[in-house]
Symmetry: D2
Subunit: 346 residues, 4 copies
Amino acid sequence: MIIVTRAGVSPDEIDHIRERVEALGLRTHISVGDRRTIIGCVGDEARLAEVPLLSITGVEAVHPVLKPYKLASREFSENETRIPFGRSEIGGDGFTVIAGPCSVEGLDMMRRTADRVGPAGAAGLRGGAFKPRTSPYSFRGLGEEGLKILARIRDETGLPVVTEVMDTRQAELVAGYADMLQIGARNMQNFALLTEVGRLHRPVLLKRGMSATIKDLLLAAEYVMSQGNMQVILCERGIRTFETATRNTFDLAAIPVLKRETHLPVFADPSHAGGVRDLVAPLSYAAAAAGADGLLVEVHPVPEEATSDGEQSLSLEEFDGLMTGLVPFLEAVGRVPGGAATAPPA
Amino acid sequence: MIIVTRAGVSPDEIDHIRERVEALGLRTHISVGDRRTIIGCVGDEARLAEVPLLSITGVEAVHPVLKPYKLASREFSENETRIPFGRSEIGGDGFTVIAGPCSVEGLDMMRRTADRVGPAGAAGLRGGAFKPRTSPYSFRGLGEEGLKILARIRDETGLPVVTEVMDTRQAELVAGYADMLQIGARNMQNFALLTEVGRLHRPVLLKRGMSATIKDLLLAAEYVMSQGNMQVILCERGIRTFETATRNTFDLAAIPVLKRETHLPVFADPSHAGGVRDLVAPLSYAAAAAGADGLLVEVHPVPEEATSDGEQSLSLEEFDGLMTGLVPFLEAVGRVPGGAATAPPA
Amino acid sequence: MIIVTRAGVSPDEIDHIRERVEALGLRTHISVGDRRTIIGCVGDEARLAEVPLLSITGVEAVHPVLKPYKLASREFSENETRIPFGRSEIGGDGFTVIAGPCSVEGLDMMRRTADRVGPAGAAGLRGGAFKPRTSPYSFRGLGEEGLKILARIRDETGLPVVTEVMDTRQAELVAGYADMLQIGARNMQNFALLTEVGRLHRPVLLKRGMSATIKDLLLAAEYVMSQGNMQVILCERGIRTFETATRNTFDLAAIPVLKRETHLPVFADPSHAGGVRDLVAPLSYAAAAAGADGLLVEVHPVPEEATSDGEQSLSLEEFDGLMTGLVPFLEAVGRVPGGAATAPPA
Amino acid sequence: MIIVTRAGVSPDEIDHIRERVEALGLRTHISVGDRRTIIGCVGDEARLAEVPLLSITGVEAVHPVLKPYKLASREFSENETRIPFGRSEIGGDGFTVIAGPCSVEGLDMMRRTADRVGPAGAAGLRGGAFKPRTSPYSFRGLGEEGLKILARIRDETGLPVVTEVMDTRQAELVAGYADMLQIGARNMQNFALLTEVGRLHRPVLLKRGMSATIKDLLLAAEYVMSQGNMQVILCERGIRTFETATRNTFDLAAIPVLKRETHLPVFADPSHAGGVRDLVAPLSYAAAAAGADGLLVEVHPVPEEATSDGEQSLSLEEFDGLMTGLVPFLEAVGRVPGGAATAPPA
């Protein structure tokens, strides 16, 4: 932590600041400048993070030196985290595509979807049973019935399933059916929920919040990891900006920044980022080119009849085209389509 | 709902769109332009909201005509909603200030705070027992012990207490102690939590999310209201933008826009909006001038020792100054300081 | 300037950084932490600002200590800047309202406007002769003919006139007619234009750019001032965010932040900030309450027939109402309506 | 144009709206709904664009049907625009990389740069002679001396040169030396400058403003084109958002959206978007994968000594690596590195 004083700070004020810092067991280095004084604080920065340094008289600015996340940081683990997922694994040299409809609408449409996306190269199936909807009057999912459909399709096809958990009370229930738990963008800072899924033994797909910085996203992962669950996948899905030509603004640079900052796998969700079907392919290719470990893609047998997010859902034919189109980009980045080749037998 | 077609749409495509709309029981009016066709849809727009119109071939744009919120809208209620709060009420001609520390840190500091802010004109006391913190390593509140302290101070002073609920599982517990339930900015779209507090008989102070539009905020209120709890207070507390000189960007215009759109009371939180103590007074005066019904202000007996948000907390003396400073602005807008004069006896 | 190294930086890398800094005449203080080293640089920070420190191996972060603006900063001048404007002055204890249409459309409408806004309390008249328009097909102003109309109305009424300059080639021409030069939001970082108006002897009304931080705005003022023209008025007019309920997001907190950072007068433009007529009054009252020195308000004799910005223009009657409505707020902040009482005779 | 009325609009108000529209030569179609009335306006929408419809009593919302840009739109030209550039051309099947330092600092460093980037595959050389700098105290370029250096290097190497024009008064001067004129992000809505370069016979590289929507960017291109200069290249370079981990937020989706909306070539500037050297390669690969026609990349012989933007400049070796790294991505999108194969001899 570095503390910068205001111009004209008095020696007594500097002493008071120094005492506050040293009382917490840190050492201080003081550089007296022409107008301002710099107080470098060496030691356990986490202790200082709790102190409202800016409210101390004479303090003008405070600059943290260390990252506020530990378990999620590159410095914690030299190796990339790999997460078993069905017959393959996420992370490493593979590239994992998880596909399916926004909402689980019934057994038939899920079966039709799974029967097509699996052979096309998807490593897992997605589908919402509990749906976060902006309006209370929108369709909010089939609930446990939806979870049962997902589990049945998994049993039939071998595709592991991913579904969202929205409520701490449902976490165990959902974990009983699903292979991976999704935390949606609107719940990225639902800290009670993060804590809860941190106690479960299920990988967590953590979507970036619409106004979350990259640091916020890593701190949300830290919540889950600090409870003991180290299987977290981060997912860039667009942030909210002034641009209205797309549903959200896909922050592509977040992918390489996250790969530099953390050992956790990084996914992209081109469907929510762009918000329309035509953008799914170019955003997917770009995400692969920028180093993503996988994609979360919305696919529906009849997009025009989807109960939610039909505008951004690929048809089954379009998904085939996406998977074919991805191949040269995956070759360019040296990745193996359909999950890591080095995956252990399930 | 108005549907605009792409240039060069075919008559068959227009027929298909029309059939989809009419099958839901709406009528259509078709205006054929030089390049595009406009299809006006008359009837129950809510049915159409579920249909992914943009995914239908030939559709270029869709413009809703009606507001997506009903219970929260001005059209639902001609009268301003008034909410009993201790010995006064929120809404109407009063101006309600709720003050207290970010976190309940102990009995003494809460008592010191209440003993000063009550006589200074605060109508209620705030304090967090369950704290949403960006880092899992920060202080996260005293939990139920904090709730007991709040209730005890309420009994001693008569000041009603407001505290945050973060988890569906805690909602009843918190409602057992608190006079008003706060939903924090990060949980504004935690739909499970909104639904849960909608089932309780406690007023809800709903803070705007950092990336929530005004429409999103009203839809979040609609979630609570659609469960039967009509006692919702909206709170502008700053949104996230590129500007870093303040913690958030205080969207002052949201206050008059909300007053135009809804019958619900509208508060401002100058502490979180500005993020530093010096901005609390000018932002408070401005909120009053723009028509707010009240304020949520952070106050701490010793801001420099606060376990959270000390930078933006007023000292007890500063709070006295704020309340004195507010008087001429409240007179200018014709409001009664300290809660509505017309309040019925509690 | 404070330099923070990466974890694992080598002694040679630290030496190299130190040498680069000392070669520019600054001294260094080095604090070795457990993982990172902090290098405090004492001396003329401006020299370091030109060096791409982040591109030096081993550097992880750089934190400036001093403000990048000098002439515009509070530290440069203890007194508030006051700017003569017609019969009164801007800054100090006065509150200056400048009103008029978006565009000068003709002599009659300007005369009708001036004849009404002057008696209502406006201290100056605004009107665009050269209009920046997002579309090349929109009305772009009367040009010099518009300037002549402004000058004639000034001569008739005694109201000083403000108009926008968009092109370095027009700066002298506009200064020949106008009492104050406006730099529009889209030209706030048109550095050639800032430099040009810095060479003229006319006060400059500098509007904040839609994506400009407060620091950017002060640096733009510094451009003008560094050429010798110290008569700059800053104007908050809303920034661009994700919120679409208003034309821009009025950053009210910018007003007190600017008043803290600079000695220059600070105005607000409630017309562009809100974008609709109904918001002009509440935003104006709030700006006054937050400490603004004046307002720039769009007024048109027949808003419905305005060639630009009619949606946000007040009618003449509405402007009367605004000026009356402002009085108690100005009393609350201890300001004199209609310009400073202490103004010297012109 | 579609006009939606407020609830409870009167027949007289509807008549007045209809008359205003029809007086401009458009026809109206009126759909009376349960609460609101929809007025579809058929005919020359441009005439209505000038009318402040929202200021007419009874109007609640206005939705344009047609795009406000014409010459820049896909509907104007079925063929992709191709722009001759040195020995190759921009647009079509080629992929054009323009590389060089932020500022022209001298003859030697420009020669060293050109001698390396040309053989590595760059089709053109960039370098600023007039530099827009946020602070008036920063290095602002060599001026005409810099232009002469650029021209001399072009003559030596055959590489066409691109440089920024910031001032209407310099436009002809710059055009006398440069092969392509760059309009910087901060001048994207400097309409006088857009008009001026629209009158010259030089291709224009138009960078997106930091707060410009995609529509704003196309309207800025329309300014240039409406003066007769149809040789415009659009350049995505990042927008301003709340994220501070990167200098700007690279709006990758703007690339495919622009390719859908316009026939003009679309470039990306990975240097300004990311702001640090390490992000240049992943952002470049992603831009190529998403369909960009070329890149603008900052390269400096000794980035650590650059007078501006050293943090984000590639060294000569790193640029070699970028060009090699790009090859498989260009193959994946079917593009020819180094400019279009179909280029006519210069």
